[in-house]
Assembly symmetry: C3
Homo-oligomer: 262 residues x 3
């Protein structure tokens, strides 16, 4: 395996030294390794959130990046750790469904269960496999170890349920808020690709009608609400220079209804 | 352009993967680029705060650093993105005044509007120019692209209002708290350079008189308030091993009055 | 001195630009320096917390790492800054006891007071020695400067009180919660090494009896409490996929009582 860059996505936070320790372990084995943080503030045990985050990030990383994802509520149990190679990127993660979204549309070249203690730290704890397994395995992959040496071929990978589909019904489509960002923008599950050739005449959320789509945040007045196609190609509801989440009291899972001009 | 180091200052936070994605894009184009985070916790849309932060930081970075600043409430509107070259450092930022303070006292060698899509990602979204424009342009600058190729010469840069001046009146000077740090220290707009040869006999804030200046935090007792010239050369009001902001209920904009010994 | 990696541990937080500025200073002097963050979210002036964090981290870093620790309530006072060389790692820190735990079990090769302004920034402020002293000294050490040139040999280093010992009494042992992590796991001062050959039959905390030890987090049911030997070799009390701290209303200092099977 040729690795250009190691990305890290965890729920370890940045207050405790866990992430720094993982980097220390990587550099102890592979002093030249290039390590990039995606985020360490996935909510504790937030497998779905981590999966979405990886999906959103991986395609913008260098070819042959290794994405290491440690959101691992099953640490120390019989859950497996897998290395999945695809065209363009590899993923090292617990087999708990975290890779579901990132693997969509990618061609899987190989998947191995990581079992060979030769590539682990000498002592493996019950609670910190990020340090004892993920970091040293990532470092050995950076150094070029053959993934087949990590362990046997994996069976079927565990998958998370896919997202609720948008419900189409005449001139309306019903979807949901699937995540919030720091700015209080509301990301929905409406993909731009499904709306080619239709003109959205209104967006309804929490009893508020927003009118049609905006071309940018600044197309509405200060403090007003709007909707647009955002950077991952989904419909986003925003408040200009404010928080739509707070403005609307909206949260993940809330229903959003679109109507079309006939 | 020769770039020694790319610094990043944004209001993206570190919970969402936005910063990691920007780094992924930079490294996809310029695998050896050296990237340093200044901060990603500028308050959302905090152009003034980002401007102060850059001013405070830029002169401590290596010669020929490129400072990339993405606090950009106008993203997707007609606001321009500029690359400003000065003696010693370059700045890539929206033309929204964010560079006002960092450019003070620097000689501007050139300023270009960034318009050439050849240096952008192939698809540019309406909401995430950090990923689609700033990151790839920074990477191309690291690789040595001539800034003139990015777009036409910029006109007059947008400027923020400069800070309220200190008001002198006989034996007193009136100024303000301009920012708070993590420790609850209160930074004021009194510059040490204006006080050469005068002895400050008292500092008044929120109805509290603090007496004269201290030489260090430890010159006052545990839990007591003091004032000193801090690391950017301004007067700072502190509580030893505590938070002056909490102690005094003080915030940005509060008036501070100094009196001098005659 | 040969330095493989510079780690940073501070209480500066990541909102203000202090850490970015320190890195800018290091790279201005030593452009190739490899810098790794351990954490910057030590509680303000948390010398004990920083000491524990360093202890937990240092042995997982590359041989010949330089650990720079700036939790420094005495900045600007007569407190000294020391460079301590041990077999395998060096430490640059204020002499305020912060190295107490990290130095346990290490052989000290030399300790120097850092006094030579030749290795500082030209102007040293009263409040930001991280920028003006620690960063440039670390950079010069990376470049290979002889530690003896930094200043005279240090006398006895300041030490923090060591942790309360576990109290043994017949078939019970009394200890304490010494820290909490992001997940709400409770770390205690019971070291696994003291319990060889004894079987723990119950763990008592805040009036709750937990039963015996678990082999992993997933050995108890969702939302249930358990105890296990965690990654630093101490007893940890956890809630599966939850927060034991919140579940029990527990905090640092709370008593924990173990009983043994006869």
């Amino acid at each position: 395996l040729s690795v250009s860059c190691i990305s890290l996505t965890t729920d370890f936070g940045t207050v405790d030294p866990f992430v720094g320790i993982m980097k220390g372990v990587v550099l102890s084995i592979a002093p030249q390794a290039r390590i990039v943080d995606i985020t360490h503030d996935i909510p504790p045990q937030g497998v779905v959130e981590a999966g979405l985050c990886l999906k959103q990030s991986a395609s913008f990383f260098p070819k042959d990046s290794l994405h290491v994802c440690v959101v691992d509520p099953g640490v120390g149990s019989s859950r497996e750790i897998v290395l999945v190679r695809t065209d363009g990127a590899s993923f090292l993660a617990p087999d708990n469904g975290i890779l579901t979204y990132a693997l969509e549309g990618r061609k899987i070249l190989s998947a191995n269960v990581v079992t060979n203690p030769h590539y682990f730290l000498p002592v493996v704890s019950r609670t910190f496999h990020g340090r004892d397994i993920f970091a040293p395995v990532a470092a050995h992959l950076w150094l070029g170890v053959n993934p087949q040496l990590l362990g046997p071929a994996a069976g079927t990978l565990k998958l998370l349920p896919t997202f609720p589909q948008v419900q189409w019904e005449g001139d309306t489509a019903r979807g949901r808020v699937i995540s919030l960002d720091r700015f209080g923008n509301l990301l929905t599950n409406f993909p731009e690709s499904s709306f080619q050739g239709r003109r959205i005449s209104s967006v309804l959320l929490k009893g508020r009608v927003l009118g049609g789509l905006s071309s940018s945040y600044s197309a509405v007045g200060e403090g007003e609400l709007g909707a647009l196609w955002e950077s991952t190609g989904h419909l986003e509801i925003f408040e200009r220079n404010g928080s739509a989440a707070r403005h609307l009291g909206a949260k993940t899972g809330d229903e959003v209804v679109l109507t079309f001009a006939s």
